[in-house]
Symmetry: C2
Subunit: 191 residues, 2 copies
DNA sequence: GTGACAACTGAATGAAGGTTCATTCACTGA
DNA sequence: TCAGTGAATGAACCTTCATTCAGTTGTCAC
């Protein structure tokens, strides 16, 4: 039953959907009817459209951070932790296409300055930076800024899967393995 | 002197600027005044706002394709050609930040379906796919879809440089070399 | 039941934005 | 010199939209 979902959540869900369909041009009245709520009610929960959109992004950022860290075992080897991180990243992008599109869109909208956005992901970027730091200490990793490497594999995964999605291609186990291998190789120290 | 730039170009330039600043919410009247042109004149050159924005993207796609292929020598080895492609890609993203932001934004705006967008880049994606095909034949490359690999390094470069830009970090020669190495390693066949 | 309080509703409002079109005017060719 | 042309103009039009608020509904205490 729909009614058990709290109104605030319903509003955020509807906004997320309409942002994917129409971008920030999505009107408040359309958001309201998608959420099966009166337009005025939007303002009981969010001060303005701007605040509402930011809230969507913040909720998304929390979900993403949680997903990327999911199943992590801090006592595992850095290799294993990196491996799981990459798997989680692929799942995050692939399992929910409209979430991935929303993420990509909001990350590039002028309304939300890039500076603020990256700030929302401090959690997950610090997390991967730490793992990479450990790997570097063990000599496994190439000698580069963890910061730079984190951006590299994240962008690589997102864009590869975006193309795959856009062309309605499946993601086979072989494809997934391929992507993982490419990520790992790119970071590896070579003689 | 400003006046020698044809009106159509002035309009496209102004639109590009305002898209970066305000996204598709940029109003036609603001575009007109930025271009030092009457609002009505916009409609002498472009049927609608929608068409205008598409035209901006198309012009951008042409510029990008030209830049990526720039300086290519078809008789060079595939390794050299790939090397140059990566250099060109880095230059394209780094040399003109607002162009890079515009590119990233328009690539993710719901107004322009992803399908159409990738279509606009057929030229450059076929180009890199061809080079990768050659490299694969020579055994240098790993055994993966050129399509997948093209998406991988493109996304990787764009995202790495986006973070770098967002944090006002410079792009040193060492950074550039690092990124190149990561791209090449990710594609390399390993024992 | 009744009163008090909060949450919700959706029509009303005024501002803003995309598009149109009657008019202007620099230029052309006769 | 002058009629003809069509690009350029920008005020006006109409729609859409974010936001407001007076009224309604639901809830809980007593």
């Amino acid at each position: 039953m729909t009614k058990v979902i709290p109104m605030r959540e319903r509003i955020l869900d509807a906004t997320a959907e309409l942002l994917v369909e129409h971008g920030t041009q999505a009107s408040m009245s359309k958001i309201a009817s998608r959420a099966e709520v009166a337009t005025g009610s939007l303002y009981n929960h969010f001060e303005s459209k701007d605040v509402l959109i930011r809230a969507v992004y913040e909720r998304l950022a929390e979900q993403v951070t949680a997903l990327l860290v999911e199943g992590d075992d801090p006592s595992a080897t850095p290799e294993q932790r990196l491996d799981r991180y990459i798997d989680n990243y692929i799942d995050f992008i692939w399992n929910d296409p409209s979430r991935a599109i929303l993420f990509e869109y909001l990350s590039n909208v002028p309304l939300l300055p890039a500076r603020d956005l990256i700030q929302s992901f401090r959690g997950s970027s610090d997390y991967i930076a730490e793992i990479l730091q450990d790997l570097r200490a063990s000599g496994w990793l190439m000698d580069a800024e963890p910061f730079l490497m984190g951006g590299f594999i994240g962008g690589a995964i997102r864009n590869t899967l975006k193309w795959q999605r856009t062309y309605d291609r499946p993601l086979t186990d072989a494809d997934r393995q391929q992507i993982k291998t490419m990520c790992l190789q790119s970071l590896r120290r070579m003689e």
